[in-house]
Every structure is written in C-alpha cells, then in structure tokens.
C-alpha cells in the first residue's frame, strides 16, 4: 500500500474527500439511530431515507418508523449552498404538510446528538479553508488533520477538525467546536463500504463532550443509483 505523505492544502484535501464520496447519484437506506444518555440508557429510532445527489445541493426525504406515535412523519429537505434550505414536515395525524423555517441548522435532530447540519451531505462550498493539512499519527496510523470553518453564520459550529485517511481520503473522525469555540462533539466514522464503486458510510458515533450523551447512527441495506429523479422528492410524495 502506498501512503500519500505529500503536503496537501486543507482545501485540496476537502475536494478529494468530497470526490471519493460523490457520484452515487441517489441512495436509499434504512437508518437506525441509538440514543444513549449519560446513564447509559438507550432509545432506538428507525427511519427510511432517500437522497438525490444534486450539484446545487442534495434533496432528501426521511420517513420516521419509530417511535410509534410519530410513525409516518416525513421530512423533505432541499439543500441550497447559497441560501436557506427548503424544508417541509408531513404530520400524518393531521394530514398536514407544514413548511419549516430552516435558517437555523444547529437544532437537535429527534433529540439525538446529531444536528440537522450534521446530517446533510458534506459540501466543500459550505466551508472556508486556509493553509495545509497537518500530517499526524493516530494509533500508529498516519492521518491528515484538516481544519475547516463553516461559512454560514447560522451554523452551530465555529470550527471543525477532520481526520482523513491518506490512502482513501475517507474522513475517520471530526471534532466540532461550538459558538464559544469549545469542543462540543466528536463524530467517529466507520464501516465504510464500496457500493457500485462508490464509498458509503455505514456508521457514525457522535459523542457530546458537554453532556456525556452519545448517538450511534447505522445505515442498513443501502442501495445507490436506483434511478430516482426530482419527482421522487417533490412535495407530492409527503402524502403517499
């Protein structure tokens, strides 16, 4: 195995990381989210998700399967790099499609340690970069340590520090710093697998250092390049 030890800018590294995860066109998966509180008590949430890869920002649809009282609730989001996302929530008990004001993305997703911002696909245009990535050794393995700063003033973070594998350019860990510039959370990425030649993430473990809570998110039965189109992400699908 040849390890790339040449110096690389933070921006170029982000581009390479983005490139190895791109090209899936669309994805369908089941998601299992395990919420673990400071006392170790666990709660599980399950969802079905669909994502459409788009140049200007992905489209995604998520349907909640558990807890039972929110079963059938759907969340539709159109990401935009240059303006606020478009978001709608379908509330099955009321048969209502409700528009969501999406300016703030730092809120907790379903009471988990993930924010809406954490769950959107990585997009290099959403961050500022400067300087070169640092070469570090973690548990005997060489890694790139890279710093990026969110452009949006509505981001919940002032800085993100990512550890990237130099051979695959896959992100292995990210530290998130809050608005007070203190370490808030650490995400550990694992169970990467190649589906139709594209790297896909299998598991993220998010640890909140300020409240000692943890959330584990696992993707199951993921398929890509399913032939999904914009029509599969129009508002009409919310009521189906």
């Amino acid at each position: 195995m040849v390890v790339n030890v040449w110096a690389i800018s933070n921006y170029d590294l982000a581009k390479k990381s983005d490139a190895v995860m791109s090209g899936y066109e669309d994805a369908k998966a089941e998601m299992v989210m395990t919420l673990i509180n400071a006392n170790g008590q666990e709660r599980q949430r399950t969802m079905k998700s669909m994502v459409l890869e788009k140049k200007g920002g992905d489209k995604s649809l998520m349907e909640f399967l558990t807890p039972a009282d929110v079963k059938g609730t759907k969340f539709l989001s159109y990401e935009h790099a240059d303006k606020d996302d478009d978001q709608w929530l379908y509330l099955p008990a009321l048969k209502r499609v409700k528009r969501i004001a999406s300016k703030n993305k730092s809120g907790s997703f379903m009471g988990s340690e993930f924010s809406y911002e954490d769950l959107t696909a990585f997009n290099i245009d959403k961050y500022n970069y400067s300087g070169d990535a640092e070469e570090v050794t973690v548990d005997g393995k060489k890694m790139y340590k890279s710093v990026r700063v969110p452009k949006s003033k509505n981001s919940g973070y002032t800085k993100q520090v990512a550890w990237v594998a130099p051979d695959t350019y896959l992100t292995m860990k990210v530290d998130y710093y809050d608005r007070k510039k203190e370490l808030l959370k650490t995400a550990t990425f694992s169970d990467y697998k190649k589906i139709s030649g594209i790297w896909r993430i299998g598991k993220i473990e998010m640890v909140n250092h300020q409240n000692d809570k943890k959330t584990i998110l696992v993707w199951k039965n993921e398929t890509i390049k399913n032939g999904l189109t914009d029509k599969d992400f129009s508002k009409r699908v919310l009521k189906r």
């Binding site: 509180n37 009282d69 079963k71 059938g72 300016k103 809120g107 009471g111 988990s112 129009s234």
Partner: protein, 441 residues
C-alpha cells in the same frame, strides 16, 4: 364498551397479517374546576384509533377507524348519558398513481390551511364535537378526486358526494353548547335538544365540487400557496329551531345551504419567520328568508399569522413565538340576516398570542401556551398544553384551559356557561385540567 371491544378485536387480528398498521389505545380525562350547575364535573373517556395501509406498486388503500367510550354512557341512568360513545369510520379509500396524475375514491380527511390555532379555510371535513370541543376531531368525507401534478404545483378536482352530520354530545356534557331549557313566547320554558339530522332543500347527496391549485415558489423568500374554488354545500351551518308547544320542546337542527366559495392559504418563509395568510369569500346562493328564520348572508373571513422561531435559548430547546389574528364579517348587516352568533362563529375579531417551547429531547416534549382575546364580545381564553412520551410508546398530554365568556352577548361560550338555576346570573367561566395517556403501536 361495544365500539372499543370491536376495534380491539380487529387490532389483535391484524398483528398476524401483513398490513402496515398503527394506532393507539388511551384514556382521556378532564376535571372541570368551574362549570354551570347540573353539568358533569368531569369526564373519563377510553379511546382507540386504528389505521391500516396497503400498498401494491402504484396502488394504495387505507382504513382508519376511531372509537371512544365515555364512562357516563355506561351508567344505567340514561339521564346522565352524554352520547359520547361511538365508533367512527374516518378513512376508507383507494388511490392510484399514474406518472403525473392520481385518482382517488373513498372516504378521507384532508387538511387545508397555514395557521396554527384556527384554520379558517379547512372546510372540507365536518367536525365531531363529541371528542373534545376545545380541540374537535374531523370526520371523513366521501369523495372522488383527480389530481394532476406539475413540476412545483398540483391541480385537483374533488367531488364531495355526501354532506355529513355535525355530531355533538348531549346534555349534561360540559361542552354541550345549547342551554338545557329555552323560554319560548306563549309556551314558557321548553326542553332544548340538538338533532344532528340536517335540514336542506337539496338532497344530502348533492355533490359539492372543489377545484384546488397549490404549489411552491423557489424564490429567496419561498412561498407555499393554495387557491380553492368551491361550489355546493357551505361548511358553515345555519340553525333552525322547531318548537313543539304540546311537548314543550325546542329542537335545534343544522340547516344546509348552497354557496360559491373562494379560499386561499399561503405561507412565506423569511429567515426564521413564517408569515401566514388564510382567507375566504363566500357567496351564499339559495338561503332565503322566511317568516321563522333569518337569512345567511354572503360573508368573508381572513386570518393573518406570524411564527418566529428562536433556537438554542436553553440547551437544544427552540422557542416559537406565535401571533394570529382572525376576522369574520357578513356583507349585509340588516335585521333579516343571521349574524355570527346565530351561526356559532367563534373567531369574529380575535387575536391569539402564544408560544411553543420545543425541548428537542428524546421524548419530543413540548409546551404550547397562549391566550385568545375576542375584541368583539370581550371574551378571553387561556390554554396551556404539555406533551411528552415515556418508554417510547406511552404519550402523555396534560392541559389547562380557562375561558372567561362574554357577559354581554350570547356567544357559544356564554351559552355553554348558562346557569339554569340562576338565569339572570353572568355565564359561568369555564376552567378545566385534562390528562391524556395513550399507548401507541
């Protein structure tokens, strides 16, 4: 208990099937801290809802049943029964999706609206006041529909095939709006009752046609918009009274009439703020004045709303600030016109101010609280609702409500607080605490 037992049996059978299902069984209880003499001091109601869905390719079918049993209806003494026990078919339909079109046939519930507290334009389904009159459920309506989908919008033609009853619980249920007795000139005091059978010069099977166009813009300030044209029975109901001098009874009946209506509901996103508008204009076609009743006039209604969300105030919590204003008026104010009070309109010139505090915790806990001030009839109502979940399957809702009814006009809340033992006294204020526990499956 028959309605609940039947639904429970059906639920247990479906555990062995391959249908997609969901629902709940629950207990709903209220204690009324202030109420008129003679009305029940509280209620305990068992509830069950069951929803089944079947999908095969582009075909989808659904069944949605609701049942409840009020403890007073189990008493031997029929005088305390409040007629709040029933099983109701809310949805039974089939849908077929084509490439850009959809055909629908059956019974269902639709939602039209943008506001949070009172949806003026949500007129498709009739309400069922036997559940909780402060938050009434909607009942399904039989209809057929065709929808064509465009890129960012959709056009639907909907034909409602039957006009449903507007069910109401009986006295001595606290939310029975009619007085127990009414004085009638030349007869004296008569026993007053509500009869849900509708009075209409047209067949109840006369179709009501809706043409609906809705969509979203992709601008810097995106808008969700909708326009609905309607011809047929109006959702507003007039009331007729039938007096039987020999039996000394007065029976209230709903009277249906035909109308043309234009409705719109819209939401605009400006940063963290949602701006909302609902409005309608109704042209009443055939309600004629007679010697014993007043005519329903053409009318208009609108509602304006603002919802601004503040995030991260305390930990992960969000605070949504809500302000909504509602207005109702007729185009004709002559003496021959049935006014808003006679039509049981609740929101004539009302302002709602409130907030929704979302904890964003693992139990999806939230608080919704607010006050409604009726500037026209000087009424105030205050509500506080807390919702949370235990063990992922048990939802808990607690609420408090206080209504100070009009002392000058016979509004619905003033009639509800009418004290038969002291007819000259001001109507009783209404105050309640409620608790709902539901097991979801």
């Amino acid at each position: 208990m028959r309605p609940l037992l039947g639904l429970a049996l059906l639920s247990s059978l479906l555990y062995s099937g391959e249908f997609e299902y969901k629902g709940y069984v629950g207990a709903d209880t209220q204690a009324y801290l202030s109420k008129p003499d003679g009305k029940h001091p509280g209620n305990l109601t068992l509830q069950q809802q069951l929803e089944l869905k079947y999908s095969e390719g582009d075909f989808e079918a659904a069944l949605n049943l609701y049942a409840q049993e009020d403890s007073y209806d189990l008493y031997r003494d029929k005088a305390v029964h409040n007629d709040r026990s029933f099983i109701r078919l809310d949805e039974l339909y089939g849908k077929y999706y084509f490439e850009n079109d959809m055909l629908f046939g059956g019974r269902n519930i639709r939602f039209w609206g943008a506001l949070e507290v009172n949806n003026i334009v949500d007129t498709f389904n009739t309400k069922d006041f036997r559940t909780d009159a402060l938050d009434p459920q909607k009942q399904g309506a039989w209809n057929v529909a065709y929808t064509h989908y465009f890129e960012n919008s959709e056009l639907s033609v909907i034909v409602k095939l039957y006009e449903e009853k507007q069910e109401m619980a009986a006295y001595p249920y606290v939310y029975y709006f009619f007085p127990k007795q009414i004085p009638v000139a030349g007869v004296g005091l008569t026993d007053a009752t509500y009869d849900a059978n509708r009075e209409s010069e047209e067949s109840l099977y006369r179709p009501t046609v809706y043409l609906s166009y809705s969509g979203s813009t992709e601008s810097d300030y995106p808008i969700d918009y909708a326009l609905v044209l309607q011809h047929g029975f109006d959702s507003q109901r007039a009331f007729s009274t039938v007096v039987d001098p020999l039996a000394r009874t007065t029976i209230f009946k709903e009277r249906l009439y035909l109308a043309n209506k234009v409705s719109t509901y819209n939401t605009m996103v400006v940063g963290s703020t949602l701006l909302k508008l609902e409005g309608l204009i109704t042209d009443v076609i055939d309600d004629n004045v007679t010697s014993v009743r007043k005519r329903v006039a053409d009318y208009y209604q609108f509602g304006l709303g603002v919802e601004h969300t503040l995030t991260g105030l305390i930990g992960d919590a969000d605070l949504g600030l809500l302000a909504e204003y509602y207005y109702y008026d007729t185009f004709d104010h002559s003496d021959a016109i049935a006014d808003d009070l006679a039509l049981f309109q609740i929101f004539q010139n009302d302002l709602f101010l409130g907030f929704r505090y979302t904890f964003n915790d693992v139990a999806d806990s939230s608080i919704l609280a607010g006050a409604i001030v009726d500037w026209q009839y000087h009424e105030q109502s205050y509500t506080f609702k807390y919702e949370t979940r235990f063990f992922d399957v048990l939802s808990v809702k607690a609420d408090y409500a206080y209504i100070n009814p009009s002392k000058t006009d016979p509004t619905a809340y003033a009639l509800m607080g009418f004290n038969a033992n002291d007819p000259l006294a001001d109507p009783s204020p209404h105050q309640r605490v409620g608790l709902n526990l539901s097991y979801h499956f």
